[in-house]
Amino acid sequence: MKRSLDTRVALRALVVFLIAAVALTWLLSTQSTAVATEFAGFASASSVDAAGPPAVSEALALTDAKVATEVAPTPEQTAVSESQSRVFQNVFNGIVFGLMLALASVGLSLIYGTTGLSNFAHGEQVSLGAMLAYFFATDQPVSIPLTPWEFVIGWPLWLASLAAIAIAGASGWLQDRFLWGKLRKRGIGVVQQLIVSIGLSLAILNFLQWWIGPNRIRLSKAIEVRQQVGPIQVGAITMMSIVIAGVALVGVAFFLQRTRLGRATRAVSDNPALAAASGIRVDSIIRLVWIMAVSLAALGGILMALYDNGTKFDVGAKLLLLMFAAVTLGGLGQPYGALAGSLVIGVVVETSTLWLGPDLKYATALGILIIVLLVRPQGILGRAERVG
């Protein structure tokens, strides 16, 4: 029973994703052909030779070497493939971004599922991971707030990242042990907890600014060399990030699907009271979820800092709403929904730059959030239940 439900859910996610992809490519192809016909019309009117201008054919050579060498490019083809490669690049960037966003939003969704809390401090967990990694990895002198000493740690990046994730995980444990666990025990409602999480996010955000400073920082000095793979450009660091993010996400899925603890987590997520009655220790499961969620967010923060070539103390605050958009899109409390939602949001955010200015790319994600709530408030994967 459980099994069939899961495959159904996965199928539905796939269908939605495919529809989105088809719609997107259709939209893009109509647009690019419109451009192409315009271009062709212009070409025939001014009777330009069949061979395109050198700059254009060079761009074409990048995208489709065979065509470039064998067939003399017509302007029409050039226009199509150029805009297509931009589309591919953006979609690819979107998927990478979506994977990293997923690392953070899966945790957000797990926390929501098991405790009912919309954790507004989750964005700061992302920043915390990136800042901790910077703290351990940088060769600049660093210090701890309220202490006058300055020192240099300068660990290699992998060690720094592991340390950062470990400390972030520990902070997740601390948070649940001394804050959220206590609040649950006192029977404080989720709305109050939500506002507590806002207070916590303000505190952590400003603490990070106080600690690391307001400037943009870089985790690694290495400059990524991008290589052409098919229609897209990709660098080694990005590939590595994709692999790490993918492994982490598959690991979470494996944990949830195949292990006893994971099954217990899903049970708590479904119905805490019932789970407790059947002998699951709900509090330890929730503590585990907190540790996992915060470490995943930290990993997401570090990968995002590498991918974006820099980070800032408020990176997570900016991502928080994208995470909420992703989680809501996928269905609040559904970890796989969060994954699907993150990918959709990532792709949308990145491809929106084809039409809109880059300063509006986050706004599109928030627009989606509002539309989803209007049309299907339980999200793609959420069960149709009364949410009001």
């Binding site: 707030p145 409602g189 709305v191 109050q192 506002i195 507590v196 200015g357 986050y362």
Partner: protein, 325 residues
């Protein structure tokens, strides 16, 4: 030390404090009376100041500008409430915060540079003129007791008088409305939505009215804020909303004077904390530029502590709590 005291007292009555008190009164309609989790009050404020400043810049009169500001806030409220007021509370929180950020993103976008001035915003001298022309105060620095403010320009005695008069008006409005049959229905929704529904009230419509009224008050707050400073989208980000929440909860949600007391206490103690920290903590431990984040860390912790240990705030009644699930 004496200077610090003057600074703290001065902060208690600046137009900014009044603007935040007003925004909190608006939020009190949402959260205090109705239990709505509006996390986008800064969006209402920003829309209000855009509406006001742009109308005046384009040659409209000051009254038209206020109307435009209010109309924008009303439209925004309706737009927000329409999909979300039927949903659970935290959805409204997510949507309002997202929508407020969207307003800010759109406002600071280069695409609307001609309209909103992108991330630099709209400078004060482009829209403050008509308001300052109405001032009966002299056009120079005026000292009253230990406080020296300009008579007319920017953060002036004129603005102080106007801002606090508006605050007083809305305190009375809140007092009358919260005691009216209409206000009792809102409180009923806050306590038990289903019970009110079963009495035949249209809960959705009441919630919408509360959202729109509170948002419009937020827009007025935005206008006052911008008259004391300028229109700057990034000053109306999420932290602003969170401050409004903190000071509302500090004073006491669902109380009449809570927002005013909360705002005065919040801003004065912020100045006090910064001043004391600058005096007592040596510079190599906490430098001048670290004071701001340090004090905001304290704000965050205050908010957490308030909600956990004294959710009714300073003036509130424990039996009448706005929190419910």
């Amino acid at each position: 030390m004496g200077d610090l005291l003057v600074d703290v007292l001065r902060e208690a009555f600046t137009p900014t404090t009044a603007a935040f008190a007003l925004a909190a009164i608006g939020l009190n309609f949402h959260f205090g009376l109705t239990g709505l989790l509006n996390m986008g009050q800064a969006g209402f404020m920003l829309l209000g100041m855009y509406g006001f400043a742009i109308t005046i810049r384009e040659g409209g009169s000051i009254w038209l500008a206020v109307l435009v500001a209010l109309a924008l806030a009303v439209a925004f409220g309706v737009l927000l409430g329409w999909p979300t007021l039927k949903l659970r509370g935290d959805y409204l929180a997510i949507v309002t915060i997202a929508a407020a950020e969207m307003v800010r993103y759109l406002g600071r976008s280069q695409n609307f540079n001609d309209l909103t001035g992108a991330s630099t915003g709209i400078r004060g001298n482009e829209f403050k003129g008509p308001f300052e022309n109405l001032s009966p105060f002299p056009d120079r620095m005026v000292e009253i007791g230990p406080f020296a403010l300009h008579g007319t320009r920017s953060t002036s005695w004129w603005l102080v008088v106007v801002a606090w008069s508006i605050v007083a008006i809305f305190v009375v409005v809140f007092w009358r409305l919260s005691r009216s049959p209409w206000g009792r229905v809102l409180k009923g929704i806050r306590e038990d939505e289903d019970a009110v529904r079963s009495l035949g009230k249209n809960v959705y419509s009441y919630k919408m009215q509360a959202l729109v009224i509170g948002g419009a008050i937020g827009a007025v707050a935005g206008v006052i804020w911008s008259l004391g400073a300028s229109v700057q989208p990034d000053s109306m980000g999420r932290p602003t909303t969170f401050w409004v929440w903190t000071l509302l909860l500090l004073g006491g949600a669902a109380t009449i004077f809570g927002p005013v007391l909360g705002s005065i206490l919040f801003w004065s103690s912020l100045v006090l904390v910064k001043g004391l920290a600058a005096l007592w903590i040596p510079d190599d431990v906490l430098s001048q530029q670290e004071l701001e984040p340090f004090s905001l860390v304290l704000v965050g912790i205050t908010l957490m502590g308030l909600v956990i240990f004294r959710p009714q705030g300073m003036l509130g009644d424990k039996r009448e709590l706005a929190f419910n699930d």
